[in-house]
């Protein structure tokens, strides 16, 4: 249901109070005027209690505001998984350059392609893929959250940058994998082949992660901003943000 816009004065220095108002629950008086609202039910002459009738004690706790969706948990989980992926990939590179005893000056051995696909994609599927998903979801929520906080972002530009980075990263990753065998065989040595493999991986992965984060953040921000509009609000004795939204 669309209701008329409601102008809320949000103190710039009181984000905690704002956070309490982010959920799906109704706005409390405290969020509106800063005074503490009583949680006890008020009585009116029409209430049974006012006429002496027995009223059963409430059996459920008063409704709590829904937990704020800042994306923090998703970002942390995604960061941990991505970190594990980074460690795993670096571990793989250390293995290749030490225990695997690959002769750097030898030409790339085609027989090893299946194992390369296996070990690299195992790490991608276990860590980088889920990490990317969680980070993207987290960035989306974060964008929405920060829009609701009234932070000013150029979401359109972020989305454009995100699309560019993501497309470039995915394109580099896909192309370098699809053409890896011809590239590796054109390479004069294992050093060249593995360097190509890893360089394209890190550049591609970096661009994919950064692009996905930008795009998700910008999208989350834009969608939230479409519901909540923020504008500076200055007046005699106060400074704040004007937050216009649909509730």
């Amino acid at each position: 249901m669309i209701v008329p816009s409601l102008l809320l004065a949000v103190a710039l220095a009181s984000p905690a109070e704002v956070r309490a108002d982010e959920g799906a629950g109704p706005a409390t008086p405290a969020a509106v005027d800063g005074t503490e609202a009583s949680s006890a039910p008020t009585t009116t002459p029409a209430d049974p209690a006012a006429t002496g009738a027995v009223v059963p004690a409430p059996t459920t706790a008063p409704a709590q505001p829904a937990r704020a969706k800042t994306g923090r948990g998703l970002l942390i989980a995604g960061g941990v998984l991505t970190g594990l992926g980074v460690v795993g990939r670096i571990g793989l590179e250390v293995f290749w350059s030490t225990a695997a005893q690959i002769v750097p000056t030898d030409p790339f051995a085609r027989w090893s392609a299946a194992n390369l696909v296996f070990v690299t994609n195992w790490n991608n599927l276990m860590f980088f893929g889920p990490g990317l998903g969680l980070l993207t979801a987290g960035a989306y929520r974060r964008g929405g959250h920060e829009a609701s906080l009234g932070k000013v972002r150029d979401a359109r530009r972020m989305r454009r940058v995100g699309i560019g980075l993501l497309s470039g990263g995915l394109g580099l990753w896909a192309l370098s994998r699809a053409l890896f065998l011809p590239i590796a065989e054109a390479c004069p040595s294992n050093r060249c082949a593995y360097t190509t493999l890893e360089t394209t991986f890190w550049i591609g992965a970096g661009a994919i992660f950064a692009g996905a984060a930008h795009l998700a953040y910008g999208t989350g921000y834009s969608r939230a901003a479409a519901k909540v509009q923020v504008a500076p609000s200055l007046g005699p004795g106060y400074a704040g943000l004007g937050l216009a939204g649909r509730f």
């Binding site: 293995f95 225990a99 005893q101 027989w111």
Partner: protein
């Protein structure tokens, strides 16, 4: 219930991919399959060592559940028979000499997920092997474990300098079987040459993926021997390793034997390779990685007679005099004890056991560092001959490349973790 169905479906999909093909699909289709063990001079020592051996046929040897060894299969009579049969042949009128070498060059250096498999000192040995081997006057070389195309190219370059022709199969398959044949170009007649490459259906699948990319097979080279005009067929092979994989190995021997037997009786067939099993193991239990002693060695004694049986072959090493497998094995410290074999090559008996039989031996420092105290020393490398019309005489055999070489700063060590096996033949 749904989960059970899914599990079953997954198993049915995955099982064929994981299963090793241990029973030949065409078993029973060849006359050799139906031979009673007791009726075959080649197989009868197996019958003597098996419970109910008198009732078993060659085809029964491919079913583990039918094999209950009660004693070590002793090939002494078979080895002696080959020597006496060869000694009875008349000398050839105008023979040409053919010096043949089979050698597992041990150029293995591969990785698979978080594991490395290789023979030590790969870099130093690969640089030395081509020039050394091709300068030693061999006419035919069967090489195994030249896995990498880079190493094949080294051999090819040296072959061009030294006047050899080389065949190593296709690029993709070569990297899986690692086999090379070299023939002195001057011996190749004008008649058309034929080349073949085959990979066995019976494999230890995990060796290919996610293992080190190995799929066992054979390569063939047929040419007309210029000095004599005799058609010669060369087979190089490297059968599956590991004592517990005797079934795969025996199936591979049956296939290879069949290929060797497929040529006209007037032609000569030479089969050289690393067959990864010896003719004799005195005790069924030997070798340990530190816990239980490995059992099941007697099953491994079947490869040798099966190769002879299915190929109609004889063993060049046992042609001049009976090969010494039984004598040398009985010189080992037995029963197996981990400590002595772990602490010293052949439990300190390298000086007392002549280096004339075991091509895989702890006395080779590279072999000891990989397999010491875990496997029997044994004769693993052979040159088999199929010569129905008796155009070939064996005039000498020997182990080759047994001594450590000076690799400068890298130290002294052997050229490979195997010794080479040579046979000097006369051919008419």
């Amino acid at each position: 219930m749904h989960a059970h169905r899914l599990t079953l479906a997954a198993l049915m999909v995955l099982a064929p991919a994981c299963a090793d093909d241990e029973i030949p699909e065409d078993l029973g289709s060849r006359p050799e399959d139906e031979v009673m063990l007791v009726d075959s001079p080649i197989l009868q020592h197996l019958a003597a060592a098996l419970e109910d051996g008198a009732t078993l046929r060659a085809s029964d040897l491919y079913f583990a559940e039918r094999l209950r060894f009660t004693a070590a299969p002793d090939p002494s009579a078979l080895l002696a028979a080959q020597a006496s049969e060869h000694a009875a042949l008349p000398p050839l009128a105008e023979p040409a000499t053919l010096k043949v070498l089979t050698y597992n060059v041990g150029l293995l250096n591969r990785w698979y997920p978080f594991t490395h498999v290789g023979v030590p000192r790969y870099v130093e040995r690969r640089a030395e092997a081509p020039a050394r081997l091709l300068a030693d006057g061999w006419d035919v070389l069967f090489l195994q474990e030249a896995w990498e195309l880079a190493d094949v190219e080294r051999f090819a370059a040296e072959a061009a300098r030294q006047g050899y022709a080389i065949y190593s199969g296709s690029e993709d398959k070569h990297a899986q079987h690692g086999l090379v044949i070299l023939v002195r170009e001057a011996l190749i007649g004008a008649a058309e040459q034929e080349f073949g490459e085959e990979q066995f259906a019976a494999q230890r699948e995990i060796e290919l993926f996610p293992g080190p990319g190995i799929k066992r097979g054979l390569i063939r080279w047929s040419f007309t021997h210029a000095p004599t005009g005799r058609r010669v067929h060369l087979y190089a092979t490297h059968l599956t390793a590991f004592p517990e994989l005797w079934q795969e190995r025996d199936v591979q021997a049956r296939v290879l034997g069949g290929r060797a037997k497929s040529h006209p009786d007037g032609d000569v067939v030479l089969v050289g390779g690393d067959f990864n099993a010896g003719p004799y193991y005195p005790e069924d239990r030997f070798g340990s990685a530190g816990e239980e002693v490995l059992a099941g060695w007697w099953h491994n004694a079947m490869m040798y007679p099966l190769m002879l049986h299915y190929g109609g072959l004889y063993d060049s090493r046992s042609a001049l005099q009976p090969a010494d497998d039984v004598t040398r094995m009985q010189q080992l410290l037995l029963p197996f004890a981990l400590g002595p074999y772990r602490d010293e090559p052949l439990a300190g008996r390298c000086d007392g056991i002549p280096h004339d039989t075991f091509t895989g031996s702890d006395c080779n420092s590279l072999y000891f560092s990989q397999y010491g105290a875990t496997e029997y020393p044994a004769r693993l490398d052979y040159i088999f001959v199929r010569d129905v019309e008796r155009h070939v005489r064996v005039v000498a055999t020997a182990l080759e490349y047994t001594e450590p070489l000076d690799f400068g700063a890298a130290g002294n060590f052997e050229l490979s973790d195997h010794y080479g096996q040579s046979a000097t033949l006369q051919l008419e």
